[in-house]
């Protein structure tokens, strides 16, 4: 089920009302059933795969807690390997075999392995990482193993964050399933506000510009450099609105029922450095990689070449996590490169002081530069192949084709249609930081209640009227 679907508009109020009507001891069961229903709307039989992961890590958690020494470590390794194996088979097997076949062909080895004809289960990478987080935390002793199978299943399957995160930590979520949440105006209001803003970002901004981006990236070789640049900037807005919109809806939906999920985006495009960007973009994933990969590799304790190598590794894996395609790996490596260069430049005093400055003008100039670097990375992220990405970059920097006339697919609806979409983007760029804070209650003490009500009612009216409903899935669902 998609958050931006008619089904969810019916599903969400029913589940929420039942949740508060039900005695506390049965609520976990209701949420588990609701989560199963939510997941089974995509491909019902894939729930079996989800349960395989759940069963493995449920028992692994208990055995890890109950054992010690090498046995404890073996349980952890066993759990990690088997959980990752599921991810490998469904997400990466075809990638490796495809590359193997390509290499075999290249060296004239007439041998080719068959690809698997399977569809990637939705959100597999997200709940796999959430499961891994649990076993590692139990191993580290930061979290007690969950003995209640239903509650543990709910930890992995909780429907607001099941298919696209935030990737939660057990310490933050598990105990919340035991707490009795009462219907609370503050939570309902805060949750609904976040959901409205998230939905607005998704169906009004992201989906409205998706067609423009597609028109540019479907035929990069035939697109002028002007539109390659516009398309790339628009994709930066699209992916941010798409994913942060989903996260806001997830956090908001959970908040209505009294659950608090971790923040996943914090206006990342105002970042003054690449490091800051990664502390504001997909926070739950960045911190996951920091906690479970970067620090175990040595983190900041190691120096010099080793530290840089670790950064590259973390970002390459992060890129690979996003999808089984070389484009994501290159995107990850590019960000690894940015980080390494930034670390090296920080040895220069003026650069360090610039990055750490609080002066608004300096920060804005810094943000503008960082944004260009991020957009360059998005070209690889959006392109269907590394070759296509290179075509885009080449097209931009060589300026082979020059024309301000939009691609034919965009012109089907006329200039006014295009102008309207660009106005939406401008509105969003100018208001994102303010509304982001407004939706999180930052100005509640300074604004009248009727103003807040009217503002969010107006956003809802726009969502209903100009939102693209039931057409475009969330980009991050494929991961």
């Amino acid at each position: 089920m998609l958050f931006n679907s008619f089904e969810f508009l019916v599903f969400f109020p029913i589940v929420t009302i039942l949740y508060f009507l039900m005695p506390h001891r049965f609520r976990w069961f209701l949420l588990l059933v609701a989560s199963c229903v939510f997941y089974m709307f995509f491909l019902w039989y894939y729930i079996a795969i989800l349960f395989v992961t759940i069963i493995i890590d449920y028992f692994a958690g208990i055995y890890i807690e109950d054992s010690s020494g090498r046995r404890k470590k073996w349980w952890l390794y066993g759990s990690i390997v088997s959980t990752c194996l599921v991810l490998f088979v469904f997400k990466y097997y075809n990638f490796f075999i495809g590359n193997f076949n390509d290499v075999a062909q290249l060296i004239g080895w007439n041998y080719s392995l068959d690809l698997l004809g399977i569809i990637l289960p939705i959100g597999l990478s997200f709940h796999t990482f959430q499961s891994l987080s649990y076993v590692v935390e139990v191993y580290r002793g930061n979290q007690k193993a969950e003995r209640h199978f239903g509650i543990y299943s709910l930890y992995v399957m909780f429907y607001p964050q099941l298919v696209a995160g935030p990737i939660e930590r057990p310490q933050n979520v598990l105990h919340q399933f035991y707490e009795e949440h009462r219907l609370n105006y503050a939570d309902v209001s805060a949750g609904i506000k976040l959901m409205i803003w998230g939905l607005f970002k998704k169906v009004v901004i992201a989906d409205n510009i998706a067609g423009l981006v597609d028109a540019v990236y479907d035929h990069p070789e035939a697109t002028s450099w002007q539109w390659l640049i516009i398309g790339s900037y628009l994709f930066a807005v699209q992916i941010y609105c798409d994913f942060s919109g989903y996260s806001d809806m997830a956090i908001g939906a959970a908040r209505v029922m009294g659950f608090r999920l971790m923040e996943n985006f914090n206006t990342p495009y105002v970042s003054n450095s690449i490091k800051e960007f990664w502390s504001r973009w997909h926070i739950s994933l960045s911190t996951w990689f920091r906690d479970y990969l970067y620090i175990p590799l040595g983190g900041n304790r190691v120096k010099g070449l080793r530290k840089h190598l670790n950064l590259f590794t973390v970002f390459a894996v992060s890129g690979f996590w996003h999808g089984a395609n070389w484009t994501y790996i290159v995107w990850g490596l590019l960000h690894g490169f940015y980080n390494v260069v930034e670390n090296l430049l920080k040895k220069i005093t003026w650069f360090k002081s610039w990055v750490e400055t609080k002066a608004p003008i300096k920060r804005r100039i810094g943000a503008l530069i960082v944004f260009q670097l991020v957009v360059l990375g998005w070209i690889f992220f959006r392109a269907t192949s590394v070759g296509d990405a290179w075509t885009v970059i080449k097209g931009i920097f060589t300026g082979q084709l020059s024309s301000w006339t939009p691609p034919a697919e965009i012109m089907t609806f006329g200039y006014l249609f295009l102008a309207f979409k660009l106005c939406l983007v401008v509105f969003f760029i100018l208001s994102d930081v303010t509304i982001h804070r407004f939706a999180r209650g930052a100005f509640d003490h300074r604004t009248k209640h009727w103003f807040r009500l009217c503002f969010f009612a107006y956003l809802t009216a726009l969502i209903l009227l100009i939102g693209h409903w039931g057409e475009v899935e969330f980009i991050y669902f494929q991961f």
Binding site: L9, V188, G414, C454, A457, L464, L465, H468, W469
Partner: protein, 323 residues
């Protein structure tokens, strides 16, 4: 709890007021001859063109012998002049991407067939792989009264349709936003004299993702029951198409579903989709549509087939009805 209910009601009221205000604004102000709504979201289609003319040309006092319903294949593929030469009056109610559900409501509310007449429903498989918005959004602003828009909204259960229906309340239908194309003849038919403009490109067909919408096709049952009540006959037909391996593959799987309906409803289906007599360049306008040469050939073939099956209303009956 009381506070939540109170605020929710207030929120819904305010939101509705804003929604209606916005609907009024985007449907009352025009730019370059079109409502602003048409530049805001594809769910708001323009008033005019073929989609409006089909309502304007309909004469409720004439008992048409044959009514053709369906997608652009219908309004471009069935020529009333050829039917006339066989002594039959024909009206073509085809609109872009029209599926069986839309045909059913149009025939029920706007274009009621005379008793004893024949209804030909052109079933184009690709129409049933679309979500229907391309069809419904065009019918709603052009419809003469609100019965069909309302029925479509209630049956399709789609928020976009609710928006299109909301806009219907503010539309000035006397203000034509899209001119009628020069090829329009009469009785809903649009002629096309060009030969194949677009070369047949099999890769284009491969790109189409088919999500079969069985629910829309199931409306054939309702349509059949409605026509039986009015003592009318229903025949399903698919007009010739450029043969393409991918299309044939989808058409075969589509037929897998349709054949069940045909046997359960005891319907006649005339499938000309792979007819060998039609030349890809001389008889087609593009991959999907016949040109006038193809239409002439096809309509003659169809009428001969219908005559052979004794499905055409007799000409004496026609005369008596005209009298």
């Amino acid at each position: 709890m009381a506070k939540i209910v109170r605020i929710t009601l207030l929120f819904l009221l305010t939101m509705t007021a804003f929604y209606l205000c916005n609907q009024w604004v985007i449907n009352s102000f025009y730019y370059a001859g079109k409502r602003l709504a048409c530049s805001v979201n594809p769910q708001f289609a323009a008033v005019g063109g073929q989609d409006r003319q089909v309502f304007l040309d309909w004469n409720p006092r004439v008992n048409y012998d044959v009514i053709v319903a369906g997608s652009s294949h219908a309004y471009r593929g069935y020529d009333p002049r050829i039917f006339q030469s066989h002594g039959l009056t024909m009206y073509n109610i085809g609109t872009g991407y029209q599926n069986a559900m839309a045909s059913y409501f149009l025939l029920k509310n706007d274009f009621q067939p005379a008793p004893g007449s024949l209804v030909i429903l052109d079933v184009y498989d690709n129409t049933y792989s679309s979500d229907g918005m391309g069809c419904f959004s065009r019918i709603i602003p052009n419809s003469d009264h609100e019965r069909t828009p309302r029925d479509l909204v209630l049956s399709a259960f789609d928020l976009r349709l609710l928006n299109a229906y909301g806009s219907f309340l503010f539309i000035d239908q006397n203000r034509i936003e899209v001119p009628l194309k020069p090829g329009y003849v009469f009785n809903g038919f649009s002629e096309c004299t060009d030969s194949s403009k677009v070369p047949v490109d099999s890769s284009r067909v491969e790109e189409v993702k088919h999500h079969f919408q069985a629910g829309y096709l199931d409306y054939i049952k309702e349509l059949n029951a409605f026509l039986k009540q009015r003592d009318c006959k229903l025949v399903l037909a698919t007009h010739p198409m450029v043969v393409n391996p991918r299309r044939v593959q989808y058409h075969t799987s589509f037929m897998g579903y349709l054949s069940g309906l045909l046997s359960s409803e005891n319907l006649i289906y005339l499938d000309f989709s792979e007819h060998p007599d039609f030349h890809p360049h001389f008889d087609f306008m593009d991959d999907d549509h016949l040109n006038q040469s193809g239409v002439d050939k096809y309509n003659t073939l169809l009428l001969d087939t219908l005559e052979g099956l004794k499905l055409l209303p007799p000409s004496s009956e026609l005369r008596s009805r005209q009298l």
